[in-house]
Symmetry: C2
Subunit: 124 residues, 2 copies
DNA sequence: AACATAAATGCGAATAATTCGCAATTGGGT
DNA sequence: ACCCAATTGCGAATTATTCGCATTTATGTT
């Protein structure tokens, strides 16, 4: 989380109470989480949650994935992804060696790997 | 595309005109595309486009990624992903060896890798 | 080849997700 | 402690996605 806060400040933004609360909250999650849920759990205004998440995406403090019809976020800290059960939603962590240098004609690479499967509890 | 059609039929669904048109349209894209765009270009009713895309996601005929605030789809044909420029949106294809067998406690794996970067044209 | 019928479409209306506008507040420098 | 641009919170607006239902259409059967 420290890294995210640093980046935020280095970008010239203010480290506000809501932003800190959201980053802190995100840092405690073990699975990607939606704006609505962050709002529900932290009480921070939904529009502000969206603004912070959008900013976090831009500054790449957080990664996003499409789950159902909402976006879910997690801190882009250590190289990792999640694998999520398509039946029950249970998530586990998957380590990964991020590619960050270059790929083809592209530089400044960022990536998000969304993995789904069926977990052992759901496998009948 | 043939593979997608096969899967669709094997699932017991009808191979309808709109579904075929959408799959065909998707198969011609070189970058993931939104429901709205499919509707615009094919004239198929937006609700039907959504229904077909949702079904395609469920049957895993197509992969989805979150781009901006809409979902974008591409056929889940040969193992590949896209890398997209965060400035201009330009996409290129990235080959990949899909993991499909098992990962941790999970089976029946599906994954979607969303990669962004800055393309050479945008790199000043 | 026409028939029956469950599945799918198209349309309009509803809901959910996300963003906007603006007055009030606040973090970070001086 | 003061200033001021950045940010918040709220409500209203948009945009994305889904629903309900009458009509149409694939597909199996005669």
């Amino acid at each position: 989380m420290e890294k995210a806060i640093e980046k935020l400040i280095r970008s010239g933004r203010k480290l506000t109470r809501p932003r800190l609360a959201i980053l802190k909250f995100l840092s405690h999650q073990h699975a990607p989480i939606s704006a609505q849920t962050i709002h529900d759990k932290t009480g921070i205004d939904l529009a502000s949650v969206y603004r912070t998440l959008k900013l976090s995406e831009e500054l790449r403090l957080a990664n996003v994935e499409a789950m159902g019809n909402e976006k879910r976020y997690c801190l882009a800290a250590e190289p990792h992804h999640h694998i999520t059960c398509r039946k029950c939603g249970h998530s586990e962590t998957v380590r990964c060696n991020h590619v960050t240098e270059g790929l083809g004609n592209f530089t400044d690479i960022s990536h998000q790997l969304t993995i789904t499967g069926i977990c052992d509890k759901c496998r009948k």
